[in-house]
């Protein structure tokens, strides 16, 4: 039953990711990416990371992709006549690089002598919170500064000079 859910989520994730990188219309790309992120959240839940699953939907599907959608609609850029790069050599090289990455990943995984997973603390919010305010406190505060920097940077970049 759990395996069935995993295979379904994996198939839908890869399928919608393929649609996201190949379809002409940017809105369809963004929406299929929402489906992909949803499936990745399902995978997190299957791995026991329940907080991350909810955070994935909240942050990625609910905020980042909404931002993408806004920019797509505000720019209203005419769809490029060809979705994929028309130059043949670059196209073959790109496809070959992607296929090589997939093959390398799969071969590495298959060659690995797998041991059953070690039991560890569950992925609930309390345990994660304790880690965030414990050993990783400095990084946590830095992330806040980074987000502020991104906010200010974005504002400066799109400000119209009069």
């Amino acid at each position: 039953m759990v395996t069935l859910v995993f295979y379904l989520a994996a198939a839908v994730a890869v399928g919608s990711a393929l649609v996201a990188v190949s379809h002409r219309s940017p809105v369809v790309n963004v929406l299929s990416l929402v489906v992909t992120f949803f499936c990745v959240a399902v995978n997190y839940a299957l791995l026991g990371a329940s907080f991350l699953a909810a955070a994935q939907i909240l942050v990625y599907a609910g905020a980042i992709l909404v931002l993408f959608l806004f920019v797509v609609m505000l720019l209203n850029a005419p769809e490029l006549p060809q979705a994929i790069d028309p130059r043949p050599i670059q196209r073959w090289l790109g496809a070959a690089a992607a296929a090589a990455t997939a093959l390398a990943g799969i071969l590495l995984v298959v060659a690995w002598r797998v041991t059953p997973p070690v039991a560890g603390p569950g992925g609930d919010a309390a345990a994660l919170g304790r880690l965030l305010v414990g050993p990783y406190l400095f990084a946590f505060e830095l992330i806040a500064v980074l987000l502020l920097a991104a906010l200010v940077g974005a504002y400066v970049l799109v400000k119209r000079k009069h």
């Binding site: 369809v28 929402v34 329940s50 909810a54 599907a61 609910g62 909404v66 806004f70 609609m73 919010a125």
Partner: protein
């Protein structure tokens, strides 16, 4: 395992039916309530007190011609109301409706009347699914190929994501006080006495949450997205018949879920101080208490709608970012201080 699945299915069906019938009730309450506030009678011809009016409205919508304009983006046009309905229906499965200690159904202990009782990250699930509601509106606005729809859709989604922040921060205050993400724990934390209800120590958070939820459900005074007098009908102007009914229903269902959330997070859910009942009677009484509190807030939604004028868009954004966000942050600081001093 099958017994547990059956019990969950029964809870799901009962809660879904309750949510869908809340739409029916709210249509009647809205029309009659609006009329009384405006010093007139409202619909009172169809059935006693006009109670069959929602049925007639549904029949009318069903028989209306389903016009699909030729220039819309078909796939997204059909997808948008589905997304709105899905979001409206999916959020209520983590809300505790009542408590049934000692009740057994098919040999499975009933526990609390929550549909998804095992979900440990209930509050996060609510916020996550709620943030997906933006897609329905923005896609409806964009796919309609109509500048009024697009404007309405973009305005509404900007409003939704702005008020989502203050709403989340207000919920964070409740989370700090409770110490758990599970909504059943939030309710049990508030049981016992009236001053334990989260609205009492966290007044600022309560007020912020109620205002933010008005904005999240696109209700007046924050309903610029579908302002009848300005944008015709905003993002759903090109929709007719059943697809419009889908948007209409999802708005009322969002309202019901929002009222249920206010009650669960801040007003003690199904608890009433001094009431400890067990078994089926306890279940009925606690659900009744919950429904009474939710009914008050649903009436509040209708009351505010017909009493206040709507905000201009820049006023709306200003309130969201410059007004509610600092207040919600102040609430969290207050909760932190109170917890350190041992008051909470």
């Amino acid at each position: 395992m099958w017994a547990e699945l059956a019990v969950t299915a029964i809870k799901l069906v009962v809660a879904a039916v309750a949510l869908l019938s809340s739409v029916v009730v709210m249509v009647w309450v809205e029309r009659r309530g609006a009329a009384f506030i405006q010093d007139r009678l409202g619909p009172n011809r169809v059935g006693p007190l006009g109670l069959l009016q929602p049925v007639i409205d549904a029949v009318k919508l069903f028989f209306k011609e389903d016009v699909t304009p030729a220039t819309v983006n078909r796939g997204l046009y059909f997808l948008a109301p589905m997304i709105s309905m899905f979001v409206a229906l999916a959020t209520f499965i983590v809300i505790p409706f009542g408590s049934a200690k000692g009740v057994e159904l098919f040999g499975v202990p009933f526990g609390d009347f929550i549909v998804a009782g095992d979900l440990e990250v209930g509050i996060l699930f609510l916020l996550a699914i709620g943030s997906l509601g933006v897609y329905g509106i923005v896609l409806a606005g964009w796919s309609s190929n109509n500048k009024y729809s697009l404007l309405g859709g973009l305005r509404s989604s900007a409003q939704l994501i702005s008020y989502e922040l203050s709403m989340t921060l207000a919920v964070l205050g409740v989370l700090l006080a409770t110490g758990s993400l599970h909504l059943g724990d939030v309710v049990s934390h508030q049981a016992g006495a009236l001053w334990r209800w989260n609205a009492v120590p966290q007044v600022l958070g309560f007020v912020t949450f109620v205002i933010a939820v008005f904005a999240e459900t696109n209700r007046l005074p924050f309903d610029l997205a579908e302002a009848e007098t300005e944008l015709v009908a905003g993002y759903h102007v090109e929709y007719s018949s059943m697809k419009f009914a889908a948007f209409f229903m999802s708005e009322y269902m969002n309202m019901a879920t929002a009222a249920a959330l206010i009650v669960t997070l801040f007003l003690g859910g199904w608890t009433l101080p001094g009431l400890h009942l067990e078994g089926w009677l306890g279940l009925a009484v606690s659900v009744g208490v919950f429904l009474a509190k939710v009914a008050f807030f649903l009436w509040l939604f209708v009351w505010v709608r017909w009493s206040l004028p709507r905000f201009r868009y820049d006023q709306l954004m200003e309130i969201g970012w410059k007004g509610l966000l600092p207040l919600a942050t102040l609430n969290i600081v207050w909760v932190g201080v109170a917890m350190t001093l041992g008051w909470l």
